[in-house]
Structure formats: structure tokens, C-alpha cells
């Protein structure tokens, strides 16, 4: 995925994989020479947040704008003041990780008028066919429309992130391509890319175009 707009927004159903993709895309942009920061607009998810990748982002030179309460014991849906830099600082590119579903997209509304006015963004719908509430066209469109209504920004493209976590096989991803294309056709949106965990990305890329390998964030203390 190249030729980025200034603001690259990722939204999708709970657990569709937005955060992982946002972190990977931000690091990829930085390596391609963009002056880019990542903004964590997720105010609904208590665990497994962008902040988990703080060290990796810092090592890559990607600043992280995140709630000061992220990963703490405090349950306050607050956004920091410097979140405004994403609409104020037009010299810089931003990758924006939006919280899941319409509840998550609601937090975007504060910035929507500025984003629409500047009109230099892409709003990407992250989909995963293996999530129980977005298994087919109809249910995925339902979630998509709820998010558009809550956030006020129409989607411009689709990212197929269909996966079963660590158990994902290349066949699982390849089988989901038809689902992704069906959604693209029904919405008129382009299928921007298919994101695949890095160890099977090469195999998938032999069959599907525009594959982006993902380095997975895994802070788990067990592997059984």
C-alpha cells in the first residue's frame, strides 16, 4: 500500500485487527520516508491497545499520541489535548486507530469537520470474515453503516484482514478473498490491501494481489 493521503484512518468491527494494522502501516510509512505519527483514538477497548507497541513505535521513530490512561487501571474515555495536532499540524501524516464498532467511531466525530474540510484522508474499513458478527456481506455492511453514521466520515477503501489469530493458514486468507471482493463490489469501495501475518504472507501473495505482511504484536506470557 503506497501513495498515502495525509490522514490514514482505520475503523472496523471489534477485534477486526485495526490496531495491529495501524502500527504496521505507520512503521512502514516512516521507513518509506514519511513524517508520520500514530494516534490512538480508541476509547472503548480496555486492553490490547496501540500503547502495547510503544517500544516498537519509538524504535522506528513514530510518535504515539494516546490517552494518558491507556493500559492503566483507570477507566476514563479521555483523549489528550495533543490529539488536535492531527488536524492542526498539516505538515505531518497521521495513522489513526479508531475504536471498534459505532461506539468507537463516535470519538472521531470531534475531528470530523476538520478532516472533511481538508479532504486529504482515506478512511479504511478493516474486515475479518472469521469474526462471528461480520461473517457475510449483510452483517458486515450493517457494522459499516453504523460506524459511518457514528463517525460522520464515509469509507474510501477496504482492508481484508481475515484471520484466525495464530492458527491462520494461507488457505484461510485465500478463501476470504471472495468475501472481501463481494463487499468491495457491493459498496463500490476499492480493496486497498489484504493484510497477512508475516510468516504466511509470501504464500498468500502468490495467489492474492496487494498483500501486506503484518508483524504481530504479542505481549502474551504464554504460548500454549
Amino acid at each position: 500500500m503506497k501513495n498515502y493521503k495525509r490522514l490514514v484512518l482505520f475503523a472496523g468491527h471489534y477485534g477486526s485487527g485495526k490496531t495491529n494494522i495501524a502500527v504496521n502501516v505507520a512503521i512502514d510509512m516512516k521507513r518509506s520516508g514519511y513524517d508520520v505519527a500514530i494516534a490512538d483514538l480508541d476509547i472503548v477497548n480496555p486492553y490490547y491497545r496501540t500503547k502495547d507497541s510503544e517500544d516498537e513505535l519509538e524504535a522506528a521513530g513514530v510518535p504515539l499520541i494516546s490517552s494518558e490512561y491507556a493500559n492503566s487501571n483507570v477507566d476514563v474515555p479521555a483523549l489528550p489535548q495533543d490529539m488536535y495536532s492531527l488536524v492542526d499540524n498539516k505538515e505531518r501524516y497521521f495513522v489513526i486507530d479508531i475504536g471498534g464498532d459505532d461506539r468507537g467511531a463516535l470519538a472521531l466525530g470531534r475531528y470530523t469537520p476538520f478532516i472533511l474540510e481538508e479532504n486529504n484522508y482515506e478512511m479504511l474499513l478493516v474486515i475479518n470474515q472469521y469474526r462471528p458478527l461480520t461473517r457475510d456481506l449483510q452483517s458486515t455492511l450493517e457494522v459499516m453503516r453504523e460506524m459511518e453514521a457514528a463517525g460522520g466520515i464515509p469509507f474510501t477503501g477496504i482492508v481484508n484482514n481475515s484471520n484466525l489469530g495464530r492458527d491462520t493458514t494461507p488457505e484461510d486468507v485465500i478463501a476470504s478473498d471472495a468475501y472481501a471482493r463481494e463487499i468491495a463490489a457491493a459498496t463500490g469501495l476499492c480493496l486497498r490491501m489484504t493484510t497477512v501475518k508475516e510468516d504466511i504472507a509470501e504464500e498468500v501473495a502468490r495467489v492474492i494481489p496487494n498483500v501486506m505482511p503484518l508483524h504481530l504484536q504479542n505481549k502474551r506470557l504464554w504460548n500454549n
Binding site: Y14, Y47, Y130, L133, L164, L221, W222, N224
Partner: protein, 355 residues
């Protein structure tokens, strides 16, 4: 479509409950279990069931009493502080002999505590929580797949013995995503002749009630209820044994702590230390017999828990203090690391060797 789906633990509980025939859910949001309610809100209207966000946890548990009285399967869910609020209703439910499922996706405590994961409601789950002489059937899943199977199992056992059941998870299990297969669900049919379904003028009225006017009568109710608890202690304990054949030290851990412990045991085995684990799957009834038998074979036990040492007491009781029991604890929302568990396992070999 693939047979597997990728689910958060909280979603898995909700979907499994629906598949187990639970068409009624009453709840109130609290981190880190809100996805149970969110999932139910989306799914229940589509299957003709009832999702209702109550005005409080107290209201939700009392709505459950109402539905359970009619013999229908019903569930509520919350996290630690919210479960404390439900405690009165849970006691009433036990006193009324009503089956239902209460889910606790634990967070740090006491008090408002914090939103990170914890296992510090063990005492609350297995030793009361509400007032009076009663037990819940308490299951402790250790994976998202097990959240599916144990949710269904808890409904079945609750109906079999007419007791409320509790699924005791923690924030990590509720929030983490794992692939699951949703087809291992059996709905058992149990006698519901006690339920309030209308007499149709064909039978005497059924009464669901926990109040007794006579002390002797109330005592008899308690004695009768404890006969059912006795049967449960005989028939319902569940546990998993891991690498116990030649084990000299036995780790005891439930839920997410058992996943961390397995990694520590693998690391200990790589160092030549003979360690195994008994993982209680039911916390009440507690798998006492297998622990008592292990006490004759091992040098020491290590309890790994995200609390200050609660199940630890039940391990000492079950093993009659025959062998030392060492604690490995984290609290406040912190999870023990495999390295931490390994270091206590190594201590256990030293302590056990001195005996």
C-alpha cells in the same frame, strides 16, 4: 465458511449461552466484560430473545430471578464490583433453588480496584459472597474454547441440581481473542415441574420462595439443599492433570494463571525438574480427591493465583497440610510471568527436599 471463528472470550460466553438455549440476558456494562452485553444486544433481537440493559446490577440479578422462576435459561454478567452488587440476589436465587448463570469477568479489587485482570473473587465465588449457607457451581475456564464448553455445561449442571452457577473468568480471558469451534454444545433436559408456568387449573400452585416462617422448616430446607451439594461434590468436580505422572512438585492453578504456569512447567522440565500441574476446572466443587492423592506422591505444591492466596487455602485443606504449599501471587491487575512461577517451583524443590 470455515468451522472456526475468531472470538473474544466475552463474545464466546454470550454466543455459547445463546446456543445453550439461553434466550434471556439482563446486565449492566462494566469493564472488562462489556462485550458480553454488547454481543447480547446485537444477537438477542435477531433470535427473538430478550436483551435488557437494567438500571443497575441489582435490578439485573432480580430480573434473572424472575425468568429463572419460570424454568427458562437466563444469564447475567458483570465484573467484580458489579458482582458484589448482585450478591444479595444470588443468595435469594440459591435460597429459591433457582438455576441461572452468573458470569464474573474479574478485575482488580477490593473496592473500585482497577480494570486490569485479576482472580481475587475466588473467595466470593466459592465461599459465599451473599449471605446464608449456600454454594454455587463454579467453573473456571482457561481458554476461549473452554469458555464456550463451560458456559453450556454450567447451564446443564445448574438445572440438574437446581443451583445458580457462576462462570469465573478474568479480564484477560474476556478480552483476548482465540479461534473457537462452536459446535460442542449439549443442552440437557432436566425436570422443570417446579417452575411457575401457570397451573391451567390442572395442578397445585408452585411456589418459588426463600422465606420460611418456621425455623425447623428453614433448617430442613438447608439440610435438603446440602444433600444436593453432597451429590455435586461426588459427581461434578472437574480438573486437568498436566505432566503429573512423575511429578515431584505439583503446581495448582486455574484460569489464565494455568496458561502461564504451563509455560513455566515446560521451562522447568527443560531444566530436568519433574513438575506437573493439577488445574481445577470446577472451583466448587473443588477437586479435593485428586489433590489429596497427589499429596502422597509429591514433595510440595505451588499455587499460582492473581490474588493474595485464596485457592491456596483450599489446597492446604484438600491436601490436609501433608506437604508444604508455596504461594506464587500477583495482584492489582498484574499477571505472573513464567519466570516468576519457575522461581517458586525451584523454591518448592528446596523446601520439599528438607522434609
Amino acid at each position: 465458511m470455515a468451522d472456526k471463528v475468531l472470538m473474544k472470550g466475552n463474545e464466546a460466553i454470550a454466543e455459547a449461552a445463546i446456543m445453550a438455549g439461553c434466550n434471556f440476558y439482563f446486565g449492566y456494562p462494566i469493564t472488562p466484560q462489556t462485550e458480553v452485553a454488547a454481543y447480547m444486544a446485537k444477537r438477542m433481537p435477531k433470535i427473538g430473545g430478550t436483551f435488557l440493559q437494567a438500571e443497575s446490577e441489582v435490578a439485573a440479578i432480580n430480573m434473572c430471578i424472575g425468568v429463572a422462576s419460570t424454568g427458562k435459561r437466563v444469564m447475567t454478567s458483570s465484573s467484580s464490583p458489579g458482582v458484589s452488587l448482585k450478591a444479595e440476589g444470588i443468595s435469594y436465587m440459591a435460597g429459591c433453588d433457582l438455576p441461572a448463570l452468573i458470569v464474573n469477568v474479574q478485575r482488580g479489587g477490593p473496592g473500585l480496584g482497577g480494570i486490569q485482570p485479576s482472580q481475587s473473587d475466588y473467595f466470593q465465588a466459592v465461599k459465599g459472597g451473599g449471605h446464608g449457607d449456600y454454594h454455587l457451581f463454579v467453573v473456571a475456564p482457561a481458554s476461549v474454547q473452554e469458555m464456550v464448553s463451560l458456559t453450556a455445561h454450567a447451564f446443564n449442571v445448574a438445572e440438574k441440581y437446581r443451583v445458580p452457577a457462576m462462570l469465573l473468568a478474568d479480564g484477560t480471558l474476556g478480552q483476548m481473542m482465540e479461534p473457537v469451534v462452536l459446535d460442542n454444545i449439549t443442552v440437557e433436559e432436566h425436570d422443570k415441574s417446579w417452575a411457575l408456568t401457570g397451573t391451567k387449573m390442572e395442578r397445585e400452585h408452585n411456589v418459588i420462595n426463600s422465606l420460611s416462617m418456621l425455623p425447623e422448616e428453614l433448617e430442613q430446607w438447608n439440610i435438603d439443599r446440602f444433600k444436593r451439594y453432597e451429590a455435586m461434590e461426588e459427581q461434578e468436580p472437574m480438573w486437568e492433570e498436566y505432566e503429573m505422572e512423575d511429578a515431584e512438585v505439583c503446581v495448582v492453578a486455574f484460569g489464565i494463571s494455568s496458561r502461564v504456569s504451563k509455560n513455566a512447567i515446560m521451562a522447568a522440565r527443560a531444566k530436568g525438574l519433574k513438575v506437573g500441574m493439577i488445574r481445577p476446572i470446577t472451583l466448587w466443587p473443588f477437586p479435593k480427591k485428586v489433590l489429596r492423592a497427589a499429596a502422597d506422591k509429591v514433595k510440595a505444591f505451588v499455587t499460582v493465583e492473581m490474588n493474595m492466596g485464596q485457592m491456596f487455602e483450599d489446597v492446604e485443606l484438600a491436601t490436609r497440610c501433608l506437604k508444604p504449599v508455596l504461594k506464587c501471587n500477583r495482584t492489582g491487575g498484574c499477571i505472573p510471568t513464567p519466570e516468576h512461577v519457575l522461581s517458586v517451583i525451584e523454591d518448592a524443590f528446596n523446601v520439599g527436599g528438607e522434609q
